[in-house]
Amino acid sequence: MTARNKKLINQPENILSEMLEGFAAAYHDIVKLDENGFIVRRTPKAEGKVGLVIGNGSGHEPAMIGLVGPGLFDVNVAGEIFTAPGPDRIVQGVKAADRGAGVLVCVSHHAGDLMNAEMALELCEAEGIENVEMVVLYDDISSAPKGRESERRGTAGLFFVWKMLGAFAETSGDLAACKAMAEKIRDNTRSLALALTPGSSPISGEVMFELPDDEIEVGMGVHGEMGTGRSKLISADATIDLMMPLILEDLPFQSGDEVLVLINNSGSLTLMEMFILYRRVAQQLEAAGVTAYKSWLGPYATTQEMSGFALSLCKVDDELKALWDAPANGAYLKQ
């Protein structure tokens, strides 16, 4: 028998609309649910600045609804559970995000997200909507080897792009510069995830993959995609000792570098466990001569109640540090 997990929902077909309605009501001071069913800023950003829009499958909250607001995204087009929204929705999102200086469509690299965004850009061209660009973002080192970075998946580490690109676009009227900034942050970010127990589909209630009670999987994707290998459950320190060298050598992060650190909770890890993990991360960074400029620990991109985490590092220079420290007011990311 397949395991089923308990969830507090109403009708499965109403999950998306009811979730958006509740979210917009709770954070009405920051966002609103517009006539298209998009989460948009309560107060649009200044005219003449580049608009940022992202579409995504739902089920990963607070990504991406919680990242709309000043210093972050302008518009989020939420699709059905784990399903990228269609191209017409992205085109509508582009229109909603337009403040007269062009719109950057951000794509977290997954097959459906990429294909629909490509089609949306073709539709924009056919409709004569000018000044729209797309940037494809990825960070997961387990999904393709070094040298084939553009085949990698987008996972929790894109958090760094959301925050710093958001800050950059708040004051920039230059679409090409925004795209270049997104690529710069992406190219300095690396992530690796680890899963302890699966999450379950909110629609079917069934677990998304099977993982024996005494095993972990390194490199598990945000939809239960296979990682680089399973092993027996090991201690928190041993887990970080396994993951950190893989991340450090991939960029590579080197002695003297400054980094931002994210430990993203996949769903049901405890803060207690995350602090214990971070302790070892700090020790490992110090041993490698790498300085943690700032760190964030929390659930930013989740996979329902999956237990696990992703460790992400982003190498920063003075420009990125200033963008990191710039104000942001999303429901789930404040600076």
Binding site: F82, T83, G86, D88, G112, E118, M119, M208, E225, M226
Partner: protein
């Protein structure tokens, strides 16, 4: 039947919708082994809207029906399936947009255009455990058959069927399923199966 009109295409889209809806749970089950188990629900919802919109068209050409179907699938389904099915019908519609009747050669040419569009959009190839593994053999049968239109469609449906069955032993190379690797062997691909159902519906009404 020697050719298909716009009205025939409407009948076809309705037949596809019915056949997919009747196999919705089976498609969900196949998808659950490799994905998130929603392929049947997604595609049956998409074709239900496509059928409704096709029936509402006023005296359409075949190209009108195909284009309306493309837009309905893309915009209702989302995800990879919406993009790929939408692309198939959109490319097919562009090839026959000036025609009022489609013969066997038109069918072969427009399905070939659809197949090429899907391969380009999804960057997938034959043997990768995707919808291509049912679609490519069906297109090949359309191109090489010397039968009447209805005989040709039966051959295409049979080719799609054996193509879908062959995905059981394949290891996925593309899309989200790529990351399930060897765990996927032993399961028939849901996308290839829905293509098979589409060609079976085509054979049933031609």
């Amino acid at each position: 039947m020697t050719y298909s009109t716009g009205a025939d295409l409407v009948t076809l889209i309705v037949a596809i919708s019915e056949r997919i809806n009747a196999n919705k749970d089976e498609l969900n089950k196949l998808d659950a082994a490799l994905g998130d188990g929603d392929h049947g629900t997604g595609i049956s919802g998409g074709f239900a809207v496509a059928a409704e919109q096709a029936q509402a068209l006023d005296n359409p050409t075949p190209g009108d029906v195909l284009k309306s179907t493309a837009m309905a699938l893309m915009n209702t389904m989302g995800g990879s399936s919406g993009a790929l099915y939408g692309t198939f019908f959109l490319k097919a519609s562009m090839l026959v947009k000036d025609k009022t009747e489609l013969d066997s050669n038109d069918w072969a040419a427009m399905c070939q255009a659809g197949l090429e569009g899907v391969m380009q959009r999804g960057k997938a190839e034959l043997g990768g455990k995707t919808m291509i593994d049912a679609l490519a053999p069906a297109v090949e049968a359309l191109k090489t058959s010397d039968q009447s239109l209805s005989g040709t469609m039966k051959q295409a449906a049979a080719a799609a069927e054996s193509g879908a069955k062959a995905t059981v032993e394949m290891v996925p190379q593309f899309g989200r399923a790529k990351f399930t690797g060897d765990r996927a062997v032993g399961h028939q691909d849901a996308g290839a199966t829905s293509i098979m159902l589409m060609f079976q519906a085509l054979a049933s009404v031609t």
